[in-house]
């Protein structure tokens, strides 16, 4: 059993204090949406999947054995929910072009930042889901390799190698995209 401060909130919820769950939602919503977004590559779907994950987690709180951190257990639910969404909504997968339109609405002052984000998202979309999730979790700087492995259902060593290779592949993809952009100018 871990000494996780979230367990106190869980006790309140399990004692019937449903509003206490809002504390957990507030604490983890950004991380949940970020993980879902990396898998689904679409903001609306990501938020919906993250909401579903929160609902599922709530319904299974009594079964959470507290041997791991709540966050690790919860992100595993987010990961699985987003993967199921991806399988169900494969035909609705949003293209990179749509993402670009969305970012252009943010204004000219954000151009450089949104351009970088656009290229990063485009490069990310060329990786597979497991690579994207492993990279996202690694860069959230919140998790150990063991926790990343637990969330994504891999061995710790496999997660380490996957993150390493994904970083290399992402650098390659980013270089390719930027080279293509340079050629079209």
């Amino acid at each position: 059993m871990t000494n996780d401060p979230d367990h106190l909130i869980l006790d309140k919820i399990l004692a019937g204090e449903q509003p206490a769950y809002a504390e957990l939602v507030n604490k983890y919503k950004s991380y949940a949406c970020t993980i879902a977004l990396r898998i689904l590559q679409n903001k609306a779907d990501a938020e919906e999947a993250a909401q579903d994950a929160f609902i599922k987690a709530y319904h299974h709180l009594a079964g959470f054995n507290r041997e791991s951190k709540f966050s690790t257990w919860f992100y595993r639910i987010v990961f699985n929910t987003a993967i199921s969404y991806k399988r169900k909504n494969r035909h609705q997968f949003q293209s990179i072009e749509n993402t670009v339109v969305e970012y252009q609405q943010e204004g000219e002052g954000m151009l450089e930042k949104t351009d970088k984000r656009k290229y990063l998202n485009a490069a990310m979309s060329r990786l597979n889901e497991a690579d994207r999730t492993a990279l996202t979790l690694f860069y959230l700087e919140e998790f150990s390799l063991e926790e990343i492995a637990a969330i994504t259902g891999m061995q710790a060593n496999t997660a380490k190698v996957r993150i390493h290779r994904a970083r290399q592949r992402l650098a390659d993809e980013l270089t390719n995209i930027l080279n293509q952009e340079a050629l079209t100018l």
Binding site: A22, V25, A46
Partner: protein
């Protein structure tokens, strides 16, 4: 220009993360000085690293928490674990059945309750089965004994899963 190998890629990533030992760091820095391809690759990997660090968190819409909580309020019953008070009531009910049955069995209340079912009298068997079927006798005392055992197992499960486990989990966590 020298080629960048998988090994040097690995070293460059560890160099960026700052996880190289001193001697490895000195070696890679010397290599970087004389190898342009390696410098270029370091730039690519570092740019990617910085981009990923800068784009870490996505902020969901402002009413995200409210939406989750409204969805929960529509379906609150499945949400929390079975309350301990209800579990205790179930356990008391189960134990009452066991106690009543355990008192009535030795008193011989169920001794005379026995019946025999003749399967040949059942309409379906006449229609579909040509052979003669055996009669099945039901002993009331045996039936009540089985009910007592099933209730004892059920009572034990309720006590363990719905009462003791949540209590000990909370005590272990809060240190009370």
């Amino acid at each position: 220009m020298e080629k960048v190998t998988q090994e040097s890629d690995d070293l460059l990533l560890r160099y960026i993360d700052g996880t190289l030992g001193l001697s490895e760091k000195q070696i890679i820095e010397k290599d970087l000085e004389r190898n342009e391809a390696l410098r270029k690759r370091l730039d690519q990997l570092r740019s990617t690293h910085l981009l990923l660090r800068a784009n870490r968190l996505y902020e969901p819409s402002k009413n995200f928490t409210q939406q989750v909580m409204s969805r929960l309020s529509l379906d609150p019953l499945r949400g929390v674990s079975f309350p301990i008070r209800n579990s205790i009531l179930i356990l008391v009910g189960v134990l009452m059945v066991v106690i009543i049955a355990a008192v009535l069995v030795p008193a011989g209340v169920f001794d005379n309750i026995s019946t025999t079912i003749d399967l040949n009298q059942v309409e379906i068997s006449k229609k579909y089965v040509e052979k003669t079927l055996p009669s099945v006798s039901i002993d009331g005392k045996l039936l009540v004994n089985i009910i007592i055992i099933v209730n004892l197992v059920l009572g034990w499960l309720v006590l363990d899963r719905a009462i003791l486990k949540p209590i000990f989990q909370r005590r272990l966590h809060t240190g009370r």
